[in-house]
Amino acid sequence: MFSLWLLLSGHYTGLLLSLGFVSALGVSMIASRMGVLDDEGLPMAVFVRLPKVALWLTWEILKSNWAVVKIIFNPASAQPQLTWVQGSQKTATGLVTYANFITLTPGTVSVDVEEADNYILVHALTDDFAQGLSDPEMDARVSQLEGTKP
Amino acid sequence: MAGFLVNASLIALLALIAILALRLHRLFAVVMLSGAFSLVAAAQFVVLDAVDVAFTEAAVGAGISTVLALATLSLLPAQEKPHSISLVPAFLATLTGLLLAVAVSDLPVFGDPKAPIHNHVAPEYIIGSEQAIGVPNIVTSVLASYRSFDTFGETLVVFTAVLAVLLIIGGYTRTPQKPKKAKRKTKGSQNAG
């Protein structure tokens, strides 16, 4: 938290630093009162593993972007459909990350998340996208990010 | 020139949103558009160098105002009764506009650094902010020191507003007199669309 403050600030005087520290403390306090600081929140360990996944994801996104742009110029070629995808994540955060990654790649949007059995309902723009989902790579990478898979 | 284009297109955009907001009858859409209006207006403020104002407009117009409007809408009918364009108000509005338009032609040119407004009091703020107050953000120094009484008033306006709202709907005993409308909302919004 405090590091985030430091990143934002750009001005380092004694007063501001101490205020920043107090702020970070205060926010933590209020957040805990709100009950948002449980393990559903973002574990810090993620940041270590993030860059690798991010790079891969960026590439995926660019690819699918191109695919969707093509469809935009030819809307008739769309084959919208819904499919179920199962995630292998153990934590809620992991599942959410998976769902978000699915959404982040254009062409697929996670519509519903069944928490009980780790299924994600996905809306895909074409068959190709739907096919792509069954590819377990993304699932694996998210799980990896989550840390449940080595 | 580019600045002008950005300006003009943003304002045109604003006008577009404003007209839409007033034309639509679905109140929800109206509120959303007014949120969008605020966003674009904030962008316009950035273009005009008023970063603090943009900050505020974004936080207030798009944030709190919209949220409050939604909270209000959840208690209200979703549709406005259709109205035709009324002539008298249109006339009045046009009149006001014309009056202003006449006035504008006399005003200093937009952005003219020689305009009196930039040469009378403002320079002292800019110099003073550096020397007497030592705060880089001139807006802050003017706001909180030179014209801090205004800001005090502003704080009190907010205070007054919350008092007013609490008095009006924070009520203890003022149960509504006609309850029948309260339930209908969910259905109405689901049919919406």
């Binding site: 948002v36 809620a92 | 970063v51 900050f55 107050i133 020191s145 801090s148 005090f152 919350v162 149960t175």
Partner: protein, 164 residues
């Protein structure tokens, strides 16, 4: 909304971030855009998010209304008394030069305090406004469910009374 896991998880990440950002805006108003008012609004929006996602009652628990009102009044009074301090110290109302031995430092301190007062008030006010507006709905809904009939009777009575 708390039945939607995606929103819930993301909100949990976002809320502290928003609050921290608000405080950052609050205290860096001197250097960049922002200040007490903006910070207050942003801070309040964290609460709004919290209440929207996790329900109003949970949201209320975080910050009881009584303290909230105190926050509002406290902010105003902080501002006011910062000004009065200048008066006590021999200058006019809202003179910050005298708050510290060095006028510039005094101004700085004064601005900081004053902005904090604004921020406190605005944050509390906005939270209060939101809870009041949103609470009205819950209030009505509850009423209409539990004793719709009874109130219809009393409402017609009131109406009659009014007519008289």
């Amino acid at each position: 909304m708390q039945d939607d896991i995606v929103i819930r998880v993301v909100a949990k990440v976002m809320i502290p971030a928003v609050m921290l950002f608000a405080l950052y805006v609050q205290f860096h108003g001197d250097y960049g855009p922002g200040g007490g008012f903006q910070a207050g609004v942003i801070f309040a929006s964290a609460f709004v998010l919290n209440a929207v996602v996790f329900g109003l009652n949970k949201g209320r628990h975080v910050w009881p209304a009584r303290y909230n009102l105190m926050g509002i009044c406290g902010g105003v009074l902080l501002y006011g008394f910062t000004g009065v301090a200048g008066m006590v110290l021999g200058k006019n109302f809202l003179n910050f030069n005298v708050l510290s031995s060095d006028p510039v430092a005094g101004q700085h301190l004064g601005i900081l305090l004053v902005e904090f007062g604004v921020g406190l008030t605005v944050a509390a006010v906005m939270v209060m406004l939101f809870f009041t507006f949103a609470g009205r709905t819950a209030h009505l809904r509850l009423l209409s469910k539990s004793d719709a009939h009874e109130r219809k009777v009393s409402a017609s009575k009131t109406a009659k009374k009014v007519k008289k």
